[in-house]
């Protein structure tokens, strides 16, 4: 492609490994919308793209970093936050972004999620919550609404789902927000704030999996799914005045936490300064 054509392309493409496109996501999957929103948020936060490192676990959403032209660590199921904790502590200069899903973050990685929030380590976590295990073929997840159908819930999910934004807020994160794929502008704004927050940031994005969640729950097309989101969202300020009954089946969107408290890697670095008079080493494997 000559540069003339090259420049006339979707604004996200310049950040992607074009030799890997098109990506593996199904038509209408929310992952790509969230990726676009991430780049928009990154640009408005005036982040240095070359300084971003992405970490992910296993699942469809965890495949995102592999398509981005940045350092990426595609790890084991549920453990992205553990790897990211080591990466960020080892080099706090990096802007570490974690992409994870509802199964990855809330089921197998649930413990790491609350502990990373408790430590308030400066990571920006984007949790793509599509209420289903997509990559393995549509099994219910810990966020599947009660009564929703999945390949392991042919009679409907029997147990109550986690409310992830609320959970992570309670665990102590500095910045928490929830948006959906029909709010890409607000989402990119939340990502901007998350990137700028010096502490643990958790942005939950309710997203569509038309292939599995949609097909099993009478929302067959991507368009059906985003119409459903539009109809179901309630902003947090309004939701705060509603009863549990009124909120049944609703998606609460907005900011859940935005505060400053001590950040984890700064504490570790300060301890080093106190104990040996200098900050923690960076890239010392090449020197020591």
């Amino acid at each position: 492609m000559d540069s003339e054509i090259n420049s006339k392309e979707n604004p996200s493409l310049k950040y992607l490994r074009k030799d890997r496109l098109p990506h593996i996501f199904c038509g209408g999957c929310g992952n790509g919308i969230i990726l676009n929103s991430f780049f928009k948020g990154m640009e408005s936060a005036e982040m240095d793209f070359d300084n971003i490192a992405m970490v992910s676990g296993i699942g469809c959403s965890s495949r995102i970093p592999g398509y981005v032209k940045c350092d990426s660590l595609h790890t084991t199921h549920g453990r992205s936050l553990a790897f990211a904790t080591g990466l960020k502590t080892g080099n706090p200069d990096l802007d570490v972004v974690v992409f994870t899903g509802d199964g990855d973050a809330a089921a197998i990685g649930g413990n790491h999620l609350i502990h990373a929030a408790r430590r308030n380590i400066n990571l920006t976590v984007i949790c793509i919550n599509n209420n289903i295990y997509g990559m393995t073929g549509g099994q219910i997840s810990p966020t599947s609404p009660k009564g929703s159908f999945g390949s392991t819930a042919p009679y409907g999910a029997q147990d109550a789902p986690f409310k992830l934004a609320e959970l992570v807020t309670a665990a102590g994160a500095s910045y928490v927000a929830r948006w959906t794929t029909v709010n890409p502008v607000q989402l990119s704004n939340a990502i901007k704030k998350g990137l700028k927050t010096d502490g643990f940031s958790f942005i939950e994005v309710i997203s569509q999996c038309p292939t599995y969640f949609g097909r099993k729950n009478k929302l067959r097309t991507p368009v059906d799914m985003i119409r459903y989101f539009k109809d179901s969202t309630v902003v947090k300020r309004k939701a705060d005045k509603m009863t549990d009954e009124e909120l049944l089946g609703k998606i609460i969107i907005g900011e859940f936490a935005n505060n400053n408290r001590g950040e984890f890697t700064k504490g570790i670095c300060n301890l080093s300064i106190e104990e040996c008079g200098k900050p923690t080493y960076k890239k010392s494997a090449y020197k020591l």
Partner: protein
């Protein structure tokens, strides 16, 4: 100018759905990949809000801003 990259578009129709000005319509015939591409039939209506770019999961849409000349 609006462009759709036929190598990337998977025909999910989210641009058609999300455009506030109903710029896009769905093609009547599928391309060689079996995708019914969106067609920016009412391009004159486009207000350059770029929402379709943001809502395109496959990074296939491109909306060119008017040149300030």
């Amino acid at each position: 100018m609006i462009k759709i990259n036929p190598n990337l578009c998977k025909g999910c129709d989210l641009c058609i759905e999300s455009c506030p000005k109903q710029v896009y319509t769905k093609s009547k015939v599928s391309n060689t990949k079996g995708v019914y591409l969106p067609n920016p039939e009412n391009e004159d209506e486009c207000i350059k809000c770029h929402l379709c770019e943001l809502m395109c999961p496959d990074q296939a849409t491109y909306v060119e801003d008017e040149k300030n000349d």
